[in-house]
């Protein structure tokens, strides 16, 4: 069995394929192709699915949401390689089914190892304790770093996207609603399409800022 490797394919820089099963580049390409459902997304579908899985595990207060998302994707890719094709469910639906199993196994493992239940609480249950408050100086420095990273990451976006994100999330209540209507009219798109576009940009920006803050 090959050791886990970091996949560099179609713009994916950090797709972790690891644990009990490891893929070849060819198998991983097949997996991406299956996720794309015939429309080449240049790895975007994979990244978006992984993001959703991380959120799913995080909403269940799993502290290792990233690992569990990778575990899910790894198992799906393995199943696909074993079966050759999966046709009974859509790729995303199939991934959700596997994610549920991964979550249940995670709970069982945690119970067996007498891990703190705070780590694996179901929705509605209280999760991990709130963090200790940072001393004012540290909080201020972190805030400055965040602003610096935001500035840098906004500059990396296409100018229209940068303007849109600042404009879309500006204002309060009625003013915000009105502003969004005006932007939608200006861009000639529906409110729903605009919302999705703004969400995509914000997701990208958040990821960039997170990475920037971690580096600094």
């Amino acid at each position: 069995m090959l050791p886990g490797f970091e996949v560099e394919y179609c713009g994916l820089r950090r797709a972790h394929v690891k644990k009990a099963w490891t893929s070849t580049q060819g198998a991983f390409r097949e997996f991406l192709h299956w996720l794309d459902e015939g429309v080449d997304s240049d790895g975007e579908k994979y990244l978006e699915l992984r993001r959703r899985l991380v959120l799913y595990f995080d909403r269940r207060n799993c502290l290792n949401a990233d690992d569990l998302a990778d575990e899910t994707l790894s198992r799906v890719a393995q199943k696909l390689q074993e079966k050759g094709e999966i046709t009974d469910l859509s790729p995303t639906h199939y991934c959700y089914v596997i994610a549920k199993f991964v979550f249940l196994e995670h709970i069982r493992r945690a119970e067996h190892s007498h891990a703190s239940l705070e780590e694996v609480s179901a929705p509605g249950r209280r999760g991990a304790a709130l963090p200790a408050q940072q001393p004012p100086d540290a909080a201020s420095a972190a805030g400055e770093q965040m602003l610096d990273c935001l500035d840098r990451c906004l500059k990396k976006l296409p100018p229209a996207d940068g303007d849109l994100i600042l404009d879309y999330y500006q204002g309060e209540q009625q003013e915000k609603i009105q502003r969004r209507r005006q932007i939608a009219v200006r861009l000639g798109v529906s409110a729903n399409a605009l919302s999705i576009r703004a969400c995509r940009i914000r997701t990208k920006l958040e990821a960039c800022v997170r990475s920037c803050c971690a580096k600094d």
Binding site: E48, L49, R52, L53, V54, L55, Y56, D58, R59, N61, L63, A65, S90, T92, H93, C95, Y96, A99, K100, A122, P123, G124, R125, R126, G127, A128, A129, L130, P131, Q133, Q134, P136, D137, A139, S140, A142, G143, M146, L147, C149, L150, D151, L154, I165, L166, Y169, Q170, E172, Q173, S195, I196, A198, C199, R200, R202, T203, E206, V209, R210
Partner: protein
């Protein structure tokens, strides 16, 4: 369950789901849609972004706020989302403040971008009252001289007119005496005010654009910090100012109802708070307009930084 049922979920239920309090059976279905349905996943992400933004703006109330604090903030990843939202809010705020200098008239703009310190001075209103009294007193002295001249001229003419002018002069002296007493009282109260070490910071109205955050340099031993918040427009008879810590969105201090006052051709709201309430960090003063019909509206967030020396 058909995929079309995703349209059956209203925003309120989705917010409850995000806050970990949706009924279990519905949460299960929402879990599934959040992974498997593109449109639903983006709708949920959009709602989550707005929810976090509302929290960092301090607009989340009641049960939602409780759940946010107890459930949402319990995850490091979700806290990162909150930190990002706070950063984005501050970034927008700074961008807004950058335009401020152009919109503030010269007589309102501070001489220095940094704060001005008035050691051992009286409070601003003490100055204002004294200044007004001095102007009135000066006018009355000038007017006395005019009356004396007129009395002298009139003596040469008719006696009744002279009496009238003398009466006017007597009244004027009586008014002078009252003003003099008032001025003395103001002077007597000045030593108390003088004992307070005060630091003042003038903040322009928040507008769009990028600029450096205003800094309040607070020397050791300062008693009071006075914030003069310039309003974009004076649409309300009264305002309330809430001082918040941007890192936690916690309320540090809240004013009573304050009436706006004119300053040059602008209107300002002034607050003074004990300096020992402030730490060396960023703050923002949220100004809320209060209408007689109990309508409230946040009219602006004024960011500033406190540096202790």
């Amino acid at each position: 369950m058909p995929s079309s049922d995703k349209f059956a979920y209203d925003d309120e239920l989705l917010v409850r789901y995000l806050l970990g309090v949706a009924p279990a059976d519905q949460a299960e279905r929402l879990d599934e849609l959040s992974v498997s349905d593109d449109e639903f996943a983006w709708r949920l992400t959009g709602l989550e972004n707005d929810l976090v933004d509302i929290f960092v703006r301090g607009e989340l109330r009641g049960e939602h706020l409780k759940q946010f604090n107890s459930f949402y903030l319990s995850s490091p990843k979700r806290r990162q989302k909150v930190e990002f939202a706070e950063g984005l809010r501050q970034f927008q705020q700074r961008a807004a403040m950058a335009d401020a200098p152009a919109s503030v008239p010269a007589n309102v703009r501070p001489a220095s971008p940094r704060m001005f310190i008035i050691p051992r001075s009286s409070l601003q209103w003490g100055f204002a009252v004294a200044a007004v009294l001095l102007v009135v007193f000066g006018y009355l002295i000038f007017d006395n001289a005019r009356l004396r001249r007129e009395v002298g001229d009139a003596r040469a003419h008719d006696g009744s007119h002279t009496q009238q002018l003398e009466k006017e002069l007597a009244d004027q002296r009586a008014r002078n005496a009252e003003i003099q007493k008032e001025l003395e009282r103001t002077h007597q109260s000045k030593p108390e005010l003088d004992q307070l070490k005060t630091v003042s910071l003038l903040l322009p109205p928040p507008t769009r654009g990028l600029s450096a955050i205003k800094t309040a340099l607070v020397p050791r031993g300062t008693d009071l910090v006075v914030l003069v918040l310039t309003l974009e427009s004076a649409d309300f008879p009264e305002y309330r100012v809430t001082l918040k810590d941007p890192a936690t969105n916690k309320v540090v201090w809240r004013s009573a109802e304050i009436e706006p006052t004119p300053m040059g051709d602008r209107t300002v709201v002034s607050i003074s708070l004990r300096a020992d309430r402030l730490r060396p960090q960023d703050y923002f003063a949220e100004v809320t307009g209060l209408s007689p019909a109990n309508r409230t509206e946040i009219v602006g967030d004024y960011a500033f930084r406190v540096v202790l020396r």
